[in-house]
């Protein structure tokens, strides 16, 4: 069994992993950059070693430094978290070479899934549906028309060298196909100096639905149900849930089996995620496989009762997984919100700064996975995600109401966060109905502003505080707290302000 784990990561996920290590009686080792010295993951770990440097390049991406520390402190395993070195096959190899267990999949699986073309080929061989289309540039327009026919309309004609929508055509009617290809080729040629185009099925009203996989050393592969992550901003997931409102038992079984085939095809071991797009016809297509723990793993934990980090450590230790069969029926419903240090009123500009006061909501079925606390500095060096708010309830409707309440109670002072924005999403009629695609936030730009019933009371509060401050007759009570100068303010009942 693993005895000491070095966590090659920072923030909430480092703290998350440390907590499971502590519960399992495993020593935890933090490594930290200079700006992170005061972060909770450093002082909650059993041991802590400086990487020095401020940027990721100088610290969390320095594999050789990290492995050196692991050897020095005699860690027998390294957990990479997500991001940084988590999907770096070379790092996984170096770790193993140093005689240390890498808590993750074999490097070969990381490599295979890291290569789009190889992954696509391997999925087709394993019978996992991929988005249909040509894999290479079109040479003959008649062949292309045949491919389009087989793929099924609507299709996308895309510039091979392309990007940003240039040289792209959406074709719904086969009669338009020829002129569309020619137009796309012309546009691609002038934009990129390369007129090659290829064809891909257009996924209509796509939803992002992914399956959590666990695979042990003996080749057992199970899935733990799905997560829906269609609510995205700039292709970044911001809200995730499990189960998905779109899936019924049949589709869940079918997709789950495909996910298991995908994992088996690459010789997977440990926890991983197979991502799919699902279109409006409920057809699903393999998107990619993430060969690590996901940010959104907590929603799966809440509806399965499993601790995925615990399972990762058990698997890496060669121990049996807690359960040997896939999940058929999730327990209730869970949501996760990612809370970013960004200003939603200002086009989501980063909002670094010192957190003067943070007080997450408490109460029934609310979970907060946070990496920060009072006095911490949100620096410019890393990802702006500061915590994840997760709720559970008996069904989707109740879980939505719970999230609205939890967001309402969440207090963070000193920086802007996406909390007000997230609350608007959870109160949106289409979101509540489950009627959305990955384009939801582009379609519903009205979310970014709009008025509420609380404006008037906020205005009154500002007015009252303004009058008190103007009078400059602040009372300081014996206990050192400011109390309002009541002489100035009309009150109905005198209160003993203690």
């Amino acid at each position: 069994m693993i005895k000491k784990v070095l966590i090659a990561n920072r923030g909430e996920i480092a703290l998350r992993i440390i907590r499971t290590c502590k519960e399992m009686g495993i020593a935890s080792v933090a490594v930290y950059s200079e700006p992170d010295r005061k972060a909770p993951f450093v002082y909650h770990a059993d041991e802590a070693f400086a990487l020095n440097g401020k940027t990721s390049q100088e610290s969390y991406l320095r594999s050789e430094k990290i492995i050196k520390i692991a050897k020095k402190c005699k860690a027998d395993a390294i957990h990479p978290g997500y991001g940084f070195l988590a999907e770096n096959a070379d790092f996984a190899r170096e770790v193993s070479k140093a005689g240390i267990t890498f808590i993750g999949p074999p490097p070969e699986a990381i490599e295979l899934m890291g290569n789009k073309t190889r992954a696509r080929k391997s999925m087709i061989e394993a019978g996992v549906p991929v988005v249909p289309g040509t894999e290479s540039a079109i040479k003959d327009i008649n062949d292309a028309a045949g491919v389009a026919e087989k793929t099924g309309y609507p299709v996308l004609v895309k510039a091979s060298a392309g990007g940003g929508g240039k040289g792209m055509r959406l074709v719904s009617d086969p009669a338009d196909f020829r002129s569309a290809v020619e137009g796309a080729q012309r546009e691609a040629g002038s934009a990129f100096g390369d007129s090659a185009v290829y064809i891909e099925k257009y996924v209509e009203e796509p939803r992002h639905i992914e399956f959590q996989i666990l695979a042990d050393a003996e080749g057992n592969v199970i899935h733990l149900g799905e997560r829906e992550c269609s609510i995205q901003r700039r292709h970044q997931k911001i809200i995730e849930e499990s189960p998905s409102i779109l899936l019924d038992e049949n589709l869940r079984r079918e997709m789950g089996e495909a996910a298991i085939r995908a994992a088996s095809a690459c010789g997977y071991r440990n926890a991983g995620t197979v991502e799919f797009l699902v279109d409006k016809h409920r057809k699903f297509y393999f998107l990619e496989m993430n060969t690590r723990l996901q940010v959104e793993h907590p929603v799966t934990e809440l509806v399965t009762g499993l601790d995925l980090v615990r399972e990762q450590i058990l698997i890496a230790s060669g121990q049996p997984m807690t359960r040997q069969s896939s999940i058929e029926q999730p327990w209730g419903h869970a949501f996760e919100c990612r809370i970013y240090a960004e200003d939603p009123e200002n086009n989501f500009a980063p909002s670094p700064g010192r957190i003067h006061h943070i007080s997450p909501p408490d109460g029934p079925c609310i979970r907060e996975d946070s990496g920060v606390t009072d006095g911490n500095e949100i620096s410019l060096y890393y990802d702006p995600m500061i915590s994840k708010l997760i709720v559970w309830d008996q069904d989707r409707m109740h879980a939505i109401r719970k999230m609205v309440l939890a967001l309402s109670e969440y207090e963070i002072q000193g920086i802007h966060t996406t909390i007000p924005f997230l609350k608007k999403v959870f109160q949106h009629k289409r979101f509540i109905r489950g009627d959305f695609t990955t384009n939801f936030l582009n379609e519903e730009t009205g979310l970014f502003n709009g008025q509420t019933s609380h404006e008037k009371v906020a205005a009154l509060a500002a007015l009252l505080l303004h009058q008190v401050q103007k009078s400059r007759k602040k009372l300081v009570s014996p206990n050192g707290q400011n109390t309002i100068n009541w002489k100035l303010i009309h009150r109905k009942n005198m209160l003993d302000v203690r």
């Binding site: 670094p352 006061h357 410019l380 008037k456 009371v457 109905k492």
Partner: protein, 167 residues
């Protein structure tokens, strides 16, 4: 005394009346019975006609930044005289014609997309700031001409540092 509270483009007007050493607050002719209590850490409990609210209020840059129930409002409070004064000054300054663009966030200048003397249109990208692994475009808020550029690509800037002067 009339007092104006502006939340972005909306305004709420209150009337304040000295009353027996206290202060009576009216809105649209109705008295608002109120009690505001400081809880420390910029937290306040406000009860208005029996309704209870919990707010976090920070004053910064002449604005009251208020969080209530997970919602956020930046609010300016002005009495009648202040407001008139500001409108006069604003009108006078309106035609002056130079606009100083400062960094809205700290970050790294990755690209400067204009040159001194260049004519620009509203919406043009002036400069790209990188922070937290994200690129942020600083765009022109109106047509004009670039008079001066204070930074170059690669420079680290603080919040509110001068970037570009537009004429």
């Amino acid at each position: 005394m009339k007092v104006f509270t502006d939340i972005k483009d909306r305004t709420f007007v209150f009337e304040l009346i000295e009353d027996n050493g206290g202060l009576k607050v009216l809105q649209e002719g109705k008295v608002l019975e109120h009690e505001l209590i400081a809880l420390g850490h910029n937290r306040y409990s406000l009860v208005v006609n029996g309704k209870s609210y919990y707010l976090q209020i920070i004053r910064d840059n002449g604005l009251y930044h208020i969080h209530v129930d997970g919602e956020y409002f930046p609010i300016r409070v002005e009495d009648e005289r202040m407001r008139q004064l500001r409108e006069l000054v604003g009108a006078a300054a309106g035609g002056s014609g130079t606009l100083l663009i400062c960094a809205p966030i700290p970050g790294l200048v990755t690209r400067v997309n204009v040159q001194e003397g260049e004519t620009i249109s509203k919406g043009d990208s002036l400069l790209t700031l990188e922070a937290m692994k994200m690129e942020n475009e600083i765009k022109a808020e109106s047509d004009g001409q670039v008079k001066q550029i204070f930074v170059e690509a690669g420079a680290a800037v603080e919040k509110d540092q001068k970037l570009i002067l537009i004429e």
